[in-house]
């Protein structure tokens, strides 16, 4: 069965090529159904490979397949080679699975869009690139996928390119990612320089051999790879592009900017675990602490956002920080576990948000929501499952994975754990805030306000808006809004994801070694680099209780503030938080100000100094030349002709003298 490995990426590739040729002719909804079935086929193939590998002994669960040699140059050679190992198949399973559901959802969501088929073309291309990323057996093929998903992300963020803001967001995502790619590329050069190959197998063999590689080299590689990972996985300071990426259609936000692409960095570092193991201690520590900082930082921002997608975007940044904490603490299984459960519940939350936005005539401002649970029962019910999962309420999936990450942090450093617990409490708080503002409380969508897209940044206008909200609460729903449940293509994926988000924890239950399915599955590719938990069972229970209490406290605080109105929400939604600590603005101002002036200066230098020198020389020559004008015609064209004539004469002369 594992021989079907090549079929996995072949499906979306065929989908992409077919849609490129015939997408427009297929039209709506055929193109959508076709694309969905292609990704569904990829999922089936992945499942087949999975069961094939499962049937083998633990140490033999690797299937390799090389298509052709891609880049041969001297000692350097890289192939289109695919790796079917526990990690890549685990990734491919949830990527294709969730993609199938999101494709289905998009058929409903993108209904009526003039570029319907093009949307699915990009989605199929994205899935293909993502599979290249996780299945490549060398760094360069991973990089191909890495850049490919980046390009697809760019296309999809700026999908509605008519709006300048969307176009800018797409460009911002691509360029910021390129900053990360700078690190990735240098890491590749360093790896090649050190071990002479970019294949994972050669690299790990060299790294793990007794003489191995120097610690400083391994550290440099890890740091450079982390720069790449921070770009793709939106870690501080490169996270800037992700909140803006919400400009794309909501299925894109769910698939690319929550479930799959943004976890690439976590995948990459997990894949590289043998190199991390050889690096100096400060490198993984740095990863963990930056992860923690990002988790906290983004959570504080999420608390004050009013755009429902922005809340989820900052939440994604924050949750990715959790994963990096796990990676930095050496608990790769916890990172992958949280990545998978996060994919379930965050995709669910985004799709749910999309359903709400869809029902609310494309309004994304939560201040205009409220009491939607009655109008959208399925959306609300599934959303609540996602909310409980992300808040860490047992027995939902998020509880189990977040617990593992917190345990990893605790094993690493007590302060790390404490601060991460704080981030978890804040997660429960802002998600509860979102749910209460959207589905419960009073309906605030009664007043016929002008449906301007209110941006998260407009915190200054909040006061005025709050008054309107209070007034609005008393009135009956106006005719402006018709909240309604979404079509079945949209809610079926919601229900499916809700199921996964609810029970996803069974992948890796901590009770005994036998229930840790994921840990056992991933064990061969971690080469013994997974840190072993030393905490006693009692400590673990205590930590779990802390986590549960933390989650409940977060939810309770949100309920007090947003349902019972016992806490002044203005104190929480501070303008500085709403504006993301002004970081984005600072960067933008720098780029638009000093940065741009530097570019302008270089351009001025080119036009006036360098070209000026040329023109100056020309002027001097002309002046001198004008004195000699009598003897010269001064027309370059004449000279040019002269050259021709001269050459012809010369050639003729030489041809004549040619000795045959």
């Amino acid at each position: 069965m594992e021989h079907l490995l090549w079929v996995i990426p072949a499906f979306p590739l065929v989908g992409f090529l077919t849609l490129m040729v015939a997408g427009r002719r297929m039209g709506e909804p055929m193109a959508g159904w076709f694309a969905t079935s292609m990704v569904g086929g990829a999922f089936a193939a992945t499942a087949a490979v999975f069961f094939g590998l499962l049937g083998r002994d633990t140490g033999e669960r690797v299937y390799e397949f090389t298509l052709f040699e891609w880049l041969p140059s001297g000692e350097f050679s890289v192939s289109f080679g695919f790796l079917g190992d526990p990690l890549s198949i685990a990734m491919a399973l949830f990527i294709t699975g969730i993609s199938t559901l999101i494709h289905l959802y998009a058929i409903g969501y993108m209904h009526g869009d003039p570029n319907f088929s093009k949307f699915f073309l990009y989605l199929n291309m994205f899935v293909f690139s993502m599979l290249m990323l996780v299945m490549g057996d060398n760094m360069l093929l991973t990089f191909l996928g890495w850049e490919g998903v980046g390009a697809c992300s760019y296309f999809l963020i700026s999908f509605w390119f008519g709006d300048e803001a969307n176009a800018s967001a797409g460009k911002k995502a691509f360029v910021t990612n390129r900053v990360g790619d700078f690190g990735f590329m240098l890491a590749m050069f360093l790896v090649f320089f050190t071990v002479g190959s970019l294949n994972y197998s050669d690299m790990f063999l060299s790294v793990m051999s007794p003489d191995g590689i120097a610690e400083s080299t391994a550290t440099a590689i890890v740091v450079l790879l982390f720069v790449g990972a921070a770009g793709k996985s939106a870690q501080f300071p490169l996270y800037l592009w992700l909140p803006d990426a919400m400009a794309g259609p909501t299925p894109v936000s769910a698939l690319i900017h929550a479930a799959t692409m943004v976890t690439s960095g976590v995948y990459l570092l997990t894949r590289m675990n043998p190199v991390i193991a050889e690096s100096a201690n400060w490198a993984p520590d740095m990863i963990a602490w930056i992860g923690l900082f990002t988790a906290l930082f983004a959570a504080t921002i999420a608390v004050a956002q009013n755009d429902i997608k922005k809340v989820l975007a900052y939440s994604t940044v924050s949750q990715l920080g959790f994963m990096f904490v796990a990676v930095g603490s050496g608990l790769y299984v916890a990172a992958i576990f949280h990545m998978i459960t996060h994919a379930f519940f965050k995709a669910l939350l985004f799709l749910g948000a999309g359903s709400v936005i869809h029902g609310m005539d494309d309004d994304q401002d939560m201040r205009h929501y409220g009491a939607l649970s009655k109008a959208m029962p399925i959306t609300a019910a599934t959303f609540i499952v996602g909310w409980l999962a992300i808040s860490g309420v047992p027995p939902f999936s998020g509880f189990w994975s977040k617990d593992e990450v917190l345990l990893a942090a605790y094993e690493n450093n007590f302060v790390l754990w404490l601060l991460l617990l704080l981030a978890a409490i804040m997660t429960a708080f802002y998600m509860s805030r979102l749910v209460f503002m959207t589905f419960f409380g009073e309906a605030r969508w009664s007043d016929g306000h002008d449906a301007e897209a209110v941006d998260g940044e407009i915190a200054a206008a909040e006061d005025a808006d709050d008054d309107a909200t209070v007034e609005a609460a008393a009135e009956a729903p106006s005719r402006e809004y018709h909240p309604h449940e979404s079509p079945w293509q949209m809610w079926v994926p919601l229900v499916a994801l809700a199921g996964l988000a609810a029970v996803g924890g069974v992948l890796n239950l901590p009770f005994s070694h036998d229930t840790k399915l994921l840990e056992k599955w991933l064990e061969p590719i971690l080469f013994g680099n997974e840190v072993h938990i030393t905490a006693s069972t009692g400590t673990k229970w205590l930590l779990a209780i802390f986590a549960i209490v933390g989650g409940v406290v977060g939810i309770g605080l949100a309920a007090a503030a947003y349902l019972r109105k016992r806490i002044d929400t203005k104190a929480i939604e501070a303008p500085i938080l709403a504006q993301g600590w002004m970081y984005d603005k600072a960067v933008t101002d720098f780029m638009g100000g000093p940065g741009r002036r530097m570019f302008d200066a270089a351009t001025w230098f080119d036009a006036n100094i360098i070209d000026g020198a040329v023109k100056g020389t020309a002027r001097i020559t002309t002046t001198v030349g004008s004195r000699l004008r009598l003897a010269q015609t001064g027309l370059v064209r004449t000279y040019a002709l002269g050259v021709v004539v001269g050459t012809v004469i010369l050639v003729t002369y030489f041809v004549a003298r040619m000795s045959f």
Binding site: T58, P72, F143, A277, H532
Partner: protein, 565 residues
């Protein structure tokens, strides 16, 4: 000593009796003659005839590609004829792995541009100049005699001068003059170098004078100091032609004011005359001097990469932006060439081909956009994607190739150059990699302003890509994708000649230089790796994790986690 060329001759004799190289050079010239004999009034026929002759030459170049023996590092299809025997000047031409793809690029790009662009006026001289230009470019790439090389190197200036001056836009006369004077100034020094080299070589070696590059390079007899001076003479001519910072200011003017065909040929083929020159008449003729001056050229290459990108970002004219992007892309070629190892040089050579395809296509598209909108000012364009989605799609593909997206052709050269440069001179490569970020910045920003955003005014009426235009640009798009996904056929044909060149450089520099190569560690399959490590862990039980544990825990108590195994 020059044994390899005789071996190559033998191979050539057995493989092919057709005078391939003379045909390459002669066909376009005959075409020029034929077009010249047709009366001016019969407009359309000039184009057809020109395409026919140019295409025939192109077909022969493809034939050379097919017949090329990829295991042979020497020159193939050698064409040799005494010319001025007393002075040692001969007609000596051949194709090796370094020139093969440059010849094919010349063979294919010319007929394509002739088909793609209508000059608008004066058809007859236009096509005559283009045909002469093609012949000249072939000549430069195949010439193995210094004198012959110089003649062709100079000949190509003339048609391009007239193409820019007569069919160009705006300040075309100024641009043409600048182009001509700049390159002539460089060439003058090269001529002095050639003559000095030949006479010194004859005196020092005691042999009869010869202009043959191979003979001179394989038995270089002149002193180290002299060689360095002579190298600089050649290098200056090439540096202007490439162009290398700070000698680049003729390029934006020439590219921008040139007619579309001129820009395509200029970027696609003529800029490569300089970079090719560095390989054949820099590294090959003067290995020691090339190594000695390498830091200078590496630095200038890196400056070109960053500086070209920065200046490109701020351009207001779309065509000028693409022109400055060439400065950056050619910086990569210079960087790779002077890395003096096989990845760097091969990457540089691949970049020459790929830049020819991508930038050629970009200029073609910008030209077509100009025909539609009669402006190249970025500020006057906007939202074109809505009016012309296919055009925008094609532009996107070409743009991504130029940005260096893996899977498309631009990446291949860029990556190998950086890889080679990193191996040889780490910090130069680090700075050059910044260019990768900047390339995305200037192209995406330009794309956003031109194709995205609201579609207003005349932009709304922009016609989409016509079927004919699609057919014309399709070969370039195929090249972009094919060479990105499967560059092996190209790389493996280049490799023997490049390895030979690198060995030659190594021998020429002497003891204190060896090709910078990476350490080669162990190698094996992933399956074996997983199997053996898993078996080890089984054996050693839970206490074998020396990798993971060192930084995290001192305790060896792994508790119940390992119990189940």
């Amino acid at each position: 000593m020059s044994g390899f060329i005789f071996a190559a001759e033998a191979a050539e004799a057995s493989a092919l009796s057709f005078p391939l190289i003379p045909a390459l050079i002669a066909l376009p010239l005959i075409g020029a003659l034929v077009v010249g004999l047709i009366p001016t009034a019969r407009d359309g026929i000039h184009q057809q005839l020109a395409v026919l002759f140019s295409g025939a030459a192109g077909a022969i170049s493809v034939w050379a590609l097919v017949e090329f023996d990829k295991t042979d590092a020497g020159f193939q299809f050698v064409s040799q004829q005494d010319w001025v025997a007393d002075l040692g000047i001969q007609w000596l031409a051949g194709i090796d792995g370094i020139t093969l793809f440059l010849v094919v690029l010349t063979g294919l790009l010319f007929p394509l541009t002739m088909v793609a662009v209508n000059p608008g006026h004066d058809h007859k001289p236009y096509f005559i100049w283009l045909l002469i230009l093609q012949s000249g470019c072939f000549g430069v790439f195949v010439a193995l005699d210094l004198f012959m090389f110089f003649v062709f190197f100079e000949i190509v200036l003339v048609p391009m001068y007239f193409l820019i001056g007569k069919w160009g836009h705006g300040n075309a006369k100024y641009a043409a003059n600048k182009f001509f004077l700049f390159t002539m100034a460089g060439s003058a020094l090269m001529l002095v170098s050639i003559v000095t080299l030949v006479s010194l070589q004859a005196r020092e070696s005691g042999n009869a004078a010869t202009f043959s590059v191979v003979d001179i390079a394989e038995n270089l007899a002149i002193g180290q100091g002299t060689a360095r001076w002579l190298f600089l003479g050649f290098a200056l001519a090439f540096a202007v032609k490439v162009p290398i910072f700070p000698l680049h200011t003729w390029l934006p003017d020439a590219h921008t004011e040139a007619p579309t065909a001129g820009s395509v040929i200029l970027a696609g083929v003529m800029l490569k005359l300089g970079t090719y020159g560095f390989l054949r008449f820099g590294l090959y003729l003067f290995p020691e001097a090339s190594n000695y001056f390498a830091p200078v050229f590496l630095t200038l290459g890196v400056i070109g990469i960053v500086y070209g990108a920065v200046v490109a970002t701020m351009q207001k004219d779309l065509k000028r932006l693409v022109a400055y992007s060439s400065v950056a892309h050619l910086g990569f070629i210079v960087l790779g060439t002077f890395s003096l190892n096989s990845q760097g040089i091969q990457g540089g050579l691949a970049q020459m081909i790929n830049h020819g395809i991508s930038t050629g296509a970009l200029f073609l598209l910008v030209g077509w956009l100009y025909e539609r909108r009669h402006t190249r000012q970025i500020a006057e364009l906007g939202g074109i994607q809505k009016a012309a989605p296919v055009f925008a799609g094609v532009f996107t593909l070409v743009m991504l190739s130029s940005i260096g997206l893996p899977g498309l052709n631009g990446f291949v050269g860029e990556f190998l150059v950086l890889l080679g440069a990193f191996t040889a001179h780490r910090w130069w490569a680090v700075v050059a990699t910044v260019g990768v970020i900047l390339a995305a910045l200037y192209l995406l920003w330009a794309y956003q302003r031109v194709f995205h955003g609201p579609t207003e005014g005349d932009n709304a009426d922009t016609p989409d890509l016509s079927v004919w235009e699609g057919v014309v640009i399709a070969p370039l798009l195929v090249g972009i994708v094919f060479l990105g996904l499967y560059p092996k056929p190209m790389l493996e044909r280049m490799e023997p000649a490049i390895d030979r060149l690198v060995e030659h450089v190594e021998a020429g520099v002497g003891g204190d230089f060896t090709e910078p190569v990476p350490t080669v560690g162990e190698s094996g399959t992933f399956s074996e790796l997983v199997e053996t490590t898993h078996a080890e862990h089984e054996e050693h039980g839970s206490h074998s994790d020396e990798h993971g544990d060192e930084d995290h825990s001192d305790e060896e108590d792994h508790g119940d986690e390992e119990g189940g195994e």
